[in-house]
């Protein structure tokens, strides 16, 4: 519509009522004065900005850069696992007066950017942090792909890169290529082997048989894990009786669960992402897919998972897990809740925080902001972190949790590489 038939309206006034009103209300002279006052205000603002920069420099801060998604598909994960830890760490360090250097204590000045879940933007952000903002150190981004995408930039400008949310089987290759990169959360093969271990243990105890139903989200993560898991499960003596994938963002997962149920499995394993972790669990509950072992990968460790399923979450296995009982972990949960207002997840959150602790201790150990020396320090020393002692001498931490389980409202680690304190695996009770 809008072509003709409105001869009475003056087209000049149709542009927007607000602008028209403004034109009527203010005479030309008034507008001129307004323009002048805007200019003055802008100048004043500039001046104030320049002054505050001067003050900041006088105080001498340590500039820490951070780039991770605040919008886009990965924003959800980052808002649970990544950003709260950045805030918690910066506030904790600043509350104790800042980082202790040879020439006195300096507070952290945080510069954060949104990478909008696009690798190109992440690369731009890190470059900007290095060249424009001249950050002293940069925190590793969120997500495997984003860590891989920016690794070259970190290396180019000589920044140490202690990654956390980066799980890949290419770690050894990357450590050789980039001397400043470190991995802390485990690899895909360790992940699938962890699940096989848990299932094997349960079978050894006579809790489950050998029929496994396996599904995966058709995405790099899900496909890589499913491919890694097939030979591992077969080697462990399991029979994969149902093996299907579904697209990311599938709105109705009932055919998947129906198919799995029809195959009469003893164990159900899903290499799933957050939305489908919720969807599959809800469907399994409604359709009564009662296996004694039920595993969903990512997001099972999120507080929202137990928030939604409550008592029905009991006995569900998932990726990650933590040593809930350690005093450091308890203190971390308390501080996280107090400062960020929400609970951390039961897997990657404490590891993300631990990587910041590594950086913090290395900077203080060196006593200056020399990036090369800090990188060397990380390789030569061991660090006391919230997830226990961390040794990064090879560039890869060989201590991490692979499988966790909801027991009594908490997500306990039940299988790990070189970490003591694993809880025994329990049989999943029937759905409540």
């Amino acid at each position: 519509m809008g072509k003709a038939g409105r001869p009475t309206r003056n087209p000049a006034l149709d542009g927007g009522e607000g602008a028209a009103a403004f034109l009527h209300a203010s005479t030309k002279r008034e507008r001129l004065m307004k323009t002048r006052s805007y200019v003055t205000a802008a100048l004043a603002g500039l001046l104030a900005g320049a002054l505050s920069i001067g003050v900041a420099q006088a105080q001498k801060t340590v500039k820490i850069g951070a780039s991770a998604p605040k919008t886009g598909p990965l924003a959800v994960g980052a808002s649970i696992t990544h950003w709260p830890n950045v805030k918690l760490w910066v506030e904790t360090v600043n509350a104790r007066g800042g980082l202790k250097l040879k020439d006195g204590q300096r507070k952290i000045e945080l510069i954060e950017y949104d990478d909008r879940t696009t690798p190109g933007e992440a690369i731009k952000n890190v470059t900007r942090l290095a060249t424009q903002d001249k950050a002293d150190f940069i925190l590793a981004p969120y997500g495997t792909g984003f860590n891989l995408a920016t690794a070259a930039i970190f290396a180019k400008f000589g920044y140490p890169m202690v990654t956390s949310t980066s799980i890949t089987d290419k770690q050894e290759e990357l450590v050789k290529r980039y001397p400043g990169i470190f991995f802390t959360l485990g690899s895909t093969s360790a992940f699938s082997e962890g699940v096989a271990d848990v299932l094997k243990k349960m079978r050894g105890e006579g809790k489950i048989g050998k029929r496994v139903a396996m599904v995966n989200v058709a995405d790099a993560f899900g496909i890589e894990l499913a491919n890694a898991a097939r030979p591992v499960f077969k080697k462990a003596g399991f029979e994969i009786v149902y093996d299907k994938s579904y697209p990311l963002g599938t709105q109705d997962l009932s055919p998947v669960i129906r198919g799995a149920k029809a195959a009469k499995p003893d164990a159900f394993v899903a290499w799933s992402y957050p939305p489908d972790t919720f969807g599959l669990t809800a469907q399994a509950k409604v359709q009564g897919l009662d296996t004694k072992a039920f595993y969903t990968a990512v997001a099972t460790a999120f507080p929202a998972f137990v928030g939604k399923f409550g008592a029905a979450a009991e006995g569900i296995l998932g990726g990650g897990g933590i040593y809930v009982e350690s005093p450091e972990m308890k203190a971390y949960f308390e501080a996280h809740k107090k400062i960020t207002g929400k609970s951390p997840d039961y897997w990657a959150s404490p590891v993300v925080y631990a990587t910041y602790q590594v950086l913090e201790q290395a900077i203080e150990g060196v006593g200056e902001l020399d990036r090369k020396k800090v990188t060397e320090y990380i390789k030569k020393n061991k660090f006391k972190t919230v997830v226990g002692e961390m040794d990064l001498s090879t560039g890869i931490s060989n201590k991490f949790w692979t499988v966790g389980q909801w027991q009594g409202g908490k997500f306990h680690g039940v299988n790990s590489l070189n970490i003591p304190g694993a809880k025994p695996v329990m049989e999943k009770p029937a759905w409540k």
Partner: protein, 288 residues
């Protein structure tokens, strides 16, 4: 039989996503790319009332429908109408409205991020099995389907049996001619836009009982709704409803009989087939 029931239930969910958009595009000629965000806003509303004060989403969605109507009416009146007035042709308006509502979708995502944060939201409501012929189905999906059916039938009857409905249909056929016979086109368009938004928001509340959502997930729903509306034909509400069920049944059949990995592919094959053989949509009229 199993496939038929699951497919129909999924079709109901799709209808909730698309019918509102159909109304907005069919009558008001606004291709509303913020459709998904309105839906997510509805989901947040239902979530908030349910977790905060234990109000059943089934009541909430009816309760906030007038609010959603008013908000969408205002969006049309103050954001879209200036575009409508200055546009020279329908194509021009389409481009303008797509750009404007695309921008609006970013604003809405930002507001929801600020209000609720970027996390996942999900709650358990009626997550219990309901047996139909010995097979369990989720009660919440069933209820959402019943609501969808009620909305669709109600809307259809209202459009075809009342004077107001007649007015809306007239504007849908030709805004030009409607104006000439004395119909308040801007008013009718605002009404349709508001009503469409209210249905979308209510749909969001119902979908939130079984889907996991977050502040920036709206675009997924917008895409689905667009496919359905284009498949169904741009001018007829029946088209969207039929298209929603065709899509639901196709996806379920493919997932159950062939492979769940092919559902997306199957949906787009159907979409392409419709575009190839009936470019005007299932219920669309051929341009003369």
């Amino acid at each position: 039989m199993d496939i038929l029931i699951i497919g129909v239930l999924l079709g109901g969910a799709y209808a909730l996503m698309a019918v509102g958009l159909q109304l907005q595009y069919g009558v008001a000629r606004i291709m509303n790319l913020a459709n998904g965000e309105i839906l997510v806003a509805g989901a947040f509303g239902a979530f908030w009332f349910f977790t905060g004060s234990q109000v059943s989403p089934l009541i909430t969605v009816i309760g906030y429908a007038p609010v959603a109507f008013a908000a969408n009416w205002a969006i049309y009146r103050y954001l879209m109408l200036p575009l409508v007035r200055r546009s020279k042709s329908e194509g021009h308006l389409e481009v303008d409205s797509i750009l404007a509502t695309f921008g609006l979708s970013f604003i809405l995502v930002g507001v929801m991020l600020a209000l609720f944060g970027g996390e996942f939201f999900s709650y358990s409501f009626l997550e219990k099995p309901f047996d139909i012929m010995g097979q369990p189905y989720e009660q919440n999906r069933l209820v959402a389907f019943l609501y969808a059916a009620a909305f669709c039938v109600g809307l259809y009857v209202w459009l075809h049996r009342t004077r107001m409905g007649l007015t809306l249909r007239a504007v849908s056929v030709s805004p030009e001619a409607s104006r000439r016979v004395g119909i308040d086109v801007a008013g009718a368009s605002a009404l349709a836009f508001g009503l469409g938004g209210a249905i979308t928001a209510a749909g969001g509340g119902l979908l939130s009982t079984f889907l996991v959502f977050d502040a920036s997930i709206g675009i997924i729903f917008t895409m689905k709704a667009l496919v359905i509306v284009i498949m169904g034909g741009l001018r007829d509400i029946r088209g969207s409803i039929v298209a929603a069920f065709v899509l639901g049944l196709t996806e379920t059949a493919v997932a159950s009989l062939i492979d769940p990995g092919l559902t997306l592919a199957a949906a787009y094959v159907v979409f392409i087939l419709v575009l190839l053989f009936r470019p005007q949509g299932i219920f669309g009229r051929r341009a003369t």
